[in-house]
Structures are given as C-alpha cells and as structure tokens.
C-alpha cells in the first residue's frame, strides 16, 4: 500500500501542528514555507548565523515549539522544503476528482534560476497565515511608519531598534506583543493607542459569557505583556488613534485624535506629538490567494473574508484542509489546534479517535475567541473620514484617494474591474497585498452599487485573487519542473 502524501503549505504554528499530526496518522508529509526556518511570524527565529545564546527570548512557548520543530523536521516521513514558495495551485479539470497540483519554487525570494517542482498530494493543508492590515491615513507612506508586523519581525528576527520614541496605534491585542518586542529589543515606546473605545472592547470580550471559553495560554500571554507595559510606564489609551503622520522625508510628528465608536474623529481632540517611528496595525488580512486558487469557498464575517471550513477543517474542496489565521484571526494557540485536527484528518487518521474530542473542543474555543476578538476590536466604518484627496491609497502605483473617488463615480467606470484598471490601484509589484481590501472597500462604498453576476469562467474581481501567487522569473517559468516529488518518494522509507 502506498503511503498517503500530505502537503502542508506554511510552517507557522498551524502548519507545524498539521505536519506533526499527519505524521502521527501515518502519512508522508512535505512541509514547505517561504522562510528559511519554521515558526512563521509567531515564532520568528533569529538566523542561525547570529548564534544567539538565548534564541527563545521574546518568544512564548519556545521550548514546546523547539521540541515540535525537531520532532517534525527529524521525522523520517517528513520532507522539509525551506525557502519554498508556492507560485501556483493548479486545479484538476472541472468535473474530475483529485487534488490541486502544487507548483513550487525553491530558493531565496530574490534569487534567480530557482528550481521548479510540482507536487501531487493526496491531501493538502493550507496554513499560509495572515499579514497586517494597515488602513491608510495622510502620511502613512513616510519612511519610519511601519506595519506592526514588520516592526515585530525586525525586533524578533534581527533585534533591530526602529526608534527611541515610537508610537503604536491601531486596534487589537496584537499591538501588545509588538510593543513588548520593541521594548525588549531596546526601542523606546511612547504609548499604545487602541482606536476602539473601552465600551466596544469590553462589550466584545464579555459577549456570550455562557461560552466563556478561556484561551488560558493567550490570556496569560496578554497579561504578561500588559504587566511589561505597566512596568515600563508605557500608557495604553483607548478611543484614540493616529490620523496623520508628518515629516520631511521621514516621520517626525504624529497627529492623534479621539474617536467616536465608529472611528470618526471628535473635532478639537487632535494632538500633535513628536515621534521618530510609528507602528500601525488595524487587524489582519488572511492570505487567501492559495485557497482561492484551489477553489475554496470563502465566508464573509464582520471581521472580513475567511476560508469556509466544516467541523473537520475541510474546505469546500475535497481533500483540501485549512488551518490557522485563514479561517479566522484567533492567534497561535487556536491555529495550533486547527492545524492538529486538519493534519490528522488529512493524513488519513481515524476521525473517531477519542483524543480528537479534546482537540475539537479546543478548536471550538479558538473559534469563540476569534469571534470575541472581532467583536472587541472592529474596524470603525467612519475611518475613510481621515483621508484627504491627496492621501495615497496604493503605494506601489501612488494612486490617491481623489483618483479612486473620481473613478468610482464615473458611470461607465462603475465596475470594480474597470475602476481598478483605470486607477492602477493594486496593479503594482505588491499586487494589492497591502491595499487590496482597502481599495475594494472604498470602491464599493463610493460607487454604492454591487457588481452584477460574474460571467461564466471569469472569476469575480476579488482583492485576493492572484493566479500567480508569488512572482516567478520568466526564465524560471520557461524551464521545465524537476521530476515530480522526488523527495517525498525517497523519504518514504
């Protein structure tokens, strides 16, 4: 009997857990990640050449992560493909069974002549994670304004100090670990601003108390960050945010303002503060290009669009499982339980195994946590009030808000696809990874009409649709792929 081949895309908390339980279920696993080392953003590791004496500093659950990493990567049925990007998922012919083929490129993201490979899995676990969502505001394109995730990566991955007088603003508990990472790396943090007022946050967390599912790990972690902020006398203010960054060639000042619950600015509440760096985070955007390429149905929730999964983490595509932030933003512990469940079932494990009951219960708690998180830290609908006609929305193509407004109100240009093409928003090198959800939201609001039904064969214009999921050089594309999955077969000893 041949061994079941499971491909796990993404080696963050969800992917690593999925790989471990697929191996436990007896499958052969190919685990791949664009990074050099597993861990994802949560367990971002210092490069080995740093020779860090205490690599676990700034990390939660480091020892457990280390054990898991060694167990998975050292397993004889596991093939670990580092620095491997999936540039395309190829669906089977309509009406034909089978899993998508996974087309990969291995090598540094800026490399050339990276070898191509095609994997043909029996089951697929998608765990690509999420990246920061940053809402635009005047001056957000200035050097010195960081997405919070990028600042955290610099602090955790390189121990780089981004400033002595840093202001953090946005919404959600993620601001706390970022503040902690900055402090640990030696930066000065002036304040952490949560845009939602205390009432919204308290109501969100206290909603549906009968299912008060603790995320004990998460709660302890947050308490620790809060204690650290208090110890370092970093104020945490609610109902206030940064509405403008100013500076000559780099950020020198931030304008903050008090907000109403819908995030409209309370007039007269503006304060200008001197800063040398600004970190912003308004939640997360799940990385949906691979699920969309696989053909997975999405689910629209108040917190945005996510991959729809059933109780087994199975997507609408047979054999394709999803785990982690792409099914809802809930943090690493929830991602781990989703990954464990997805990996076990993808690996052909017995769905009736008693141990799964606990995993499912934990997963359900994770989902409840995600719902609370979304309710406590929503994005207020009035945020476009911060924008000015000259505010840049798409940084790659330098499309400003005024241009989007004009395009959206033209009768013949009312379709999102035409508006997008005409304004060039989202067409630059980042391919709308940063501005896509924002442009889609603004365009829908400005034009006030919903697009008609899509034509057959042509997909709906979606901000996350990227048939080429990662840039591939022409020479790499023209070369033939290496023979199918040599590593997985070889390692199936």
């Amino acid at each position: 009997m041949t061994v079941r081949q499971v491909v796990v895309i993404g080696a963050g908390p969800a992917g690593l857990a999925a790989a471990a339980s697929a191996l436990a279920a007896g499958a052969a696993v190919t685990l791949l990640d664009a990074a050099e080392r597993p861990g994802g953003q949560y367990h971002r590791m210092l490069p080995e050449e740093y020779g860090a004496a205490r690599p676990g500093r700034l990390h939660h659950g480091w020892a457990a992560f280390e054990r898991l990493r060694r167990r998975v990567l050292g397993h004889p049925r596991c093939t670990w493909l580092a620095e491997t990007a999936v540039w395309a998922l190829e669906r089977p012919e309509p009406g034909h069974p089978g899993l998508p083929l996974v087309h990969t490129l291995t090598g540094p993201a800026d490399g050339t002549d990276r070898p191509r490979r095609t994997l043909a899995p029996d089951a697929l676990v998608l765990a690509p994670g999420a990246h920061d969502r940053v809402l635009p505001f005047p001056g957000w394109e200035l050097p010195g304004v960081y997405a919070a995730g990028a600042a955290q990566a610099l602090a955790k991955g390189e121990r780089l100090v981004i400033g002595d007088d840093v202001l953090l603003a946005g919404s959600g508990p993620f601001l706390l670990p970022v503040a902690a990472a900055l402090l640990e790396a030696g930066a000065g943090v002036r304040a952490v601003l949560e845009a939602n007022p205390p009432r919204t946050v308290a109501r969100g967390w206290a909603r549906r108390p009968w299912e008060l599912a603790e995320q004990p790990g998460k709660a302890a972690e947050l308490a620790e960050y809060t204690a650290l902020l208090a110890h370092r006398r970093v104020p945490y203010r609610m109902g206030r945010t940064v509405i403008e960054a100013r500076g000559d060639g780099r950020v020198e000042e931030a304008v903050t303002a008090r907000l109403r619950p819908d995030w409209s600015v309370i007039p007269g509440s503006e304060v200008t503060v001197a800063v040398d760096a600004l970190c912003v985070s308004h939640g997360f955007s799940p990385q949906l290009e691979l699920p969309l390429a696989a053909g997975c149905a999405l689910l629209r929730s108040p917190a945005g669009e996510f991959v729809a999964v059933d109780g087994d983490q199975l997507t609408s595509c047979p054999g394709v499982y999803a785990a982690g932030e792409i099914t809802g933003i809930a943090g690493a512990p929830a991602a781990r339980t989703e990954g464990a469940l997805a990996g076990w079932l993808a690996g052909g494990g017995d769905p009736a195994t008693p141990a799964l009951r606990r995993v499912r219960r934990n997963r359900d708690r994770g989902r409840a946590f995600a719902a609370r998180l979304a309710a406590a830290h929503p994005v207020g609908s009035a945020w476009p009030g911060w924008l000015r006609p000259e505010t840049v929305i798409c940084r790659c193509e330098e499309t400003d808000y005024g241009t989007l407004c004009r395009a959206a109100t033209e009768e013949a240009g009312a379709a999102p696809r035409v508006a997008k093409l005409a304004t060039r928003a989202g067409l630059g090198p980042c391919q709308a990874r940063i501005c896509g959800p924002t442009v889609a939201e603004l365009t829908a609001r400005l034009s006030g009409n919903s697009p008609g039904c899509p034509a057959d064969g042509l997909p709906v214009a979606a901000p996350h649709r990227r048939p080429i999921a990662q840039p591939i050089r022409l020479g790499e594309l023209a070369s033939s792929p290496a023979p199918s999955e040599p590593d997985t077969k070889e390692s199936t000893a």
Binding site: H103, V418, L427, L458, A478
Partner: protein
C-alpha cells in the same frame, strides 16, 4: 435612408463592441439606446486582452478591410470624444480624462521570423498585404537593433508595420460607453437576459430578471457568450470561447518599444486547432509592465490557470527577448475570445428572427475591429450604403449557422 425617429435599440453586452455600437447609434440620432449587461461594463473579454488595434496580422480579405476602416476611425473617435459635449457623463473635462486613460499609442508592430521558412512566409504575406494597402517595411539587422535594442540577434527577417496601435482596452470601452451615455444612451448593468418575447415571429422584448425590456431592435454583442445568448433568444449562432492567457511582468525601464511578435503568430491566429497554440507577442504598457502573450485553446469556459501554458508562453517570449529571463512575472490573466470557425466576425440582421442583430465573433481582434463593426452596423440598420462590403460578415453563412456545437453552447 430609413427614418429612425424614436427607434428603440437594446445593445446586449457592455464590452468594447457593445460600447462602440451604442455610441455609433446614439450619435446617429433618432435612436433611443439602452446598453444591458449581466455583469459590469467592460469586465469580461474586454478587460482581459492586450488592446490590439492591428492590421499586421491580417491577410488581404474582408477582415483586413474592416481592420483598415477601424484603424482610420480610432483617432477620429478619440478626438471627437475628447472635444465631446460639455457636462458629459464623465463630468466636466471628464471626456478628456477618459480619452487620456485610453492610452492610444500608435507604436507600430514589428514581426520577427527566426527560421528561414518563417522568413519566406513572412515576406510573401507582407507582399500580399502591401497590395491591399498595408504599410509593411522590411527592417535589416541594424534597423531592427535600432528599433528594438533588446530583441534577439538570432532572426531571419523583420517587418515593421507602422499602422499597428495599442489601447488600454477597458478604458477604451469606458470612453466609448461614456460618450454614448453623454449622447443619451442609458446603461443597465447586473441584469441578465433570460429569454425572448416575440410577436408575429418578431423579437419584441427580452425577458430579464428585472422584467421585460421592449425595443424595436436588439444587438447581440455578448462576445464569447453570444452563442448562448442567441440560443436563449431562439436563434443560435456558432460563437464559441477560445481561451487566451497573458503574463504581466513587474514594471521595467523602457525595454520593448513596439508590439513585437514572432511570425508564427499569424499562423496561430488563423488556425482552428482545439489544442494549445502559442506564439510570442511582447509589448510594454504605459505603466512600465510588459505583456507577454499569446495562447489559444478551445476548452469551453474553463478558467483554470495552466502552468504548462504559461511556461510555453514564457519560453516563446524568451526566444524573441532572451534578456528578459530574469524579469519577474507578477500576474497572469486569461480571457475568452469569441471564436467563429471561419475566423470572421458576425455582423448584421438575423434572417431567422426579425429584430435581432449580431455584432460578435471577433475572436482576438474585437478591440481593434469594434469601431468599424459599429459603423457597419449603423449603416445596415439605417439602410445606407456601408463603406465596405458587409456580405462576408452576414449571419446566414455556413460557419455561423452550420455545425452548432450543443455541448459548448451549454458549457
């Protein structure tokens, strides 16, 4: 000329051909024009092409005559829209902006052969084209290197077609449609045609999800969906989808200055094969990206990305521009061309169902041919003498009414 006073026209499809027809009829006076689309304007085939306005890929014959008429009309139409009526649908000075967005670029085409056989074929093809009034200039190696410094030195012949031009296709459709609206036409999007209402054998209304829409004449401009739409109205025509894919590179400094394609392209355009045909078509856009085509496959409305198709396009493009090997491809998109087995558009009245007209089947040339098609349609509707012979495009020809493929109709 027949009196058109108050004639109600419904144009079915808000792509480039529907937009051009709506504009031509709105400008003609006497027509009340409504454009209907089940999606949004210029969202389907129009938004998924390269924006070709070409004469170089057409041999002598009716399609070349339509292309030459269209090529003459493009600058005229854009100039007219730019000086359009004040307070147009595009807002004050909006029509000038709309025309700027069209990115009209008479950059010229260069066709390169890389084999001896290809060179012979290319020279013969160009000689026939010259006899039909096309400007086709032979480039020697130095002239080619001066015109396209990055093109392969490994070539056997090169021809320059100064009449070839490029537009941003979705913007071009938007500009035409905007001008139609400024001249009194109305646009209804998100409204699908479900069937026909006839009286005495004449099409009097289309049934839609939002109720019946009555008119005196209906123009089927639904591109690759024309076949299915016509079938729903009770008068099927054999227009099928033929898939194409395009690669888009990251923005580059100026590298490609004309529309450059290999001599195989003409053969692929004219072939009727169902399986994959690829040939290199390379051109830059005003945004700095380079578009790499082209592929042709008849696989119904299958929108899957096929890495082997993209790889074939990349390999052919590198044969023309070997220096692009390190350039990142950041996007790929595909679309469906409206394909008719004899490779000619379908323009004119449907003799089986009075009231129904067709303006479809342009395969990969609909952007370029849209204006000539609209002019021809206007003349036929009004009963005036058209500039070119409309007979080759008539609906009742074997390729259009002959072997209908029910499987693809329902695909």
């Amino acid at each position: 000329m027949r009196s058109m006073n108050g004639t109600r026209v419904v144009v079915l499809g808000a792509g480039i051909v529907g937009a051009a027809c709506a504009r031509e009829l709105a400008l003609a006076g006497g027509f009340q024009v409504t454009v209907l689309d089940r999606g949004g304007a210029a969202e389907a085939t129009t938004a998924h092409g390269e924006g070709n306005v070409l004469v170089s890929d057409k041999g002598p014959g009716p399609e070349l005559r339509l292309a030459q008429l269209s090529r003459r009309l493009w600058p005229e139409a854009l100039a007219a829209i730019a000086d359009g009526p004040a307070g147009s649908a595009n807002g004050p000075s909006g029509s000038a902006d709309a025309v700027r967005a069209v990115e009209w670029d008479p950059k010229g085409g260069i066709v390169v052969a890389t084999t001896e056989a290809g060179a012979d074929g290319l020279h013969r093809f160009a000689a026939d084209q010259r006899a039909a009034g096309v400007r086709a200039e032979v480039l020697d190696a130095d002239a080619l290197a001066a015109a396209e410094p990055h093109v392969t030195r490994d070539h056997t012949a090169a021809l320059h077609y100064p009449e070839d031009a490029q537009v941003q296709p979705a913007a071009a459709a938007a500009a035409l449609l905007g001008d139609a609206l400024a001249h009194g036409a109305t646009l209804r999007t998100g409204c699908e045609v479900l069937g026909a209402r006839t009286r005495g054998g004449r099409l009097t209304a289309v049934r839609t999800a939002e109720g019946d829409l009555a008119a005196d004449l209906f123009v089927n401009a639904a591109g690759p969906w024309s076949g299915r739409l016509a079938a729903r109205l009770g008068a099927p025509v054999d227009v099928r989808p033929r898939r194409g894919d395009i690669l888009v590179t990251a923005p580059l400094p100026p590298t490609v200055f004309h529309k450059v394609y290999d001599a195989d392209y003409v053969g692929a355009v004219g072939s009727s094969a169902e399986d994959l045909q690829t040939s290199a078509v390379v051109e830059a856009t005003r945004g700095g990206t380079v578009l790499l085509g082209s592929s042709r496959r008849r696989t119904g409305f299958d929108d899957r990305l096929r890495p082997e198709v993209l790889a074939a396009i990349a390999a052919k493009a590198l044969r023309l521009f070997p220096g692009l090997a390190g350039v990142p491809v950041m996007r790929a998109y595909g679309g469906f061309r409206p394909y008719v087995p004899d490779h000619l558009p379908v323009i004119g009245a449907d003799p089986r169902l009075p009231g129904l007209w067709h303006a479809s089947g342009h395969e990969g040339a609909g952007i370029g041919l849209s204006l000539g098609t609209a002019r021809l349609l206007r003349d036929l509707v009004r009963g005036t003498e058209p500039e070119i012979d409309p007979a080759p495009f008539r609906v009742d020809r074997p390729a259009v009414l002959g072997a209908l493929a029910p499987s693809e109709e329902s695909a």
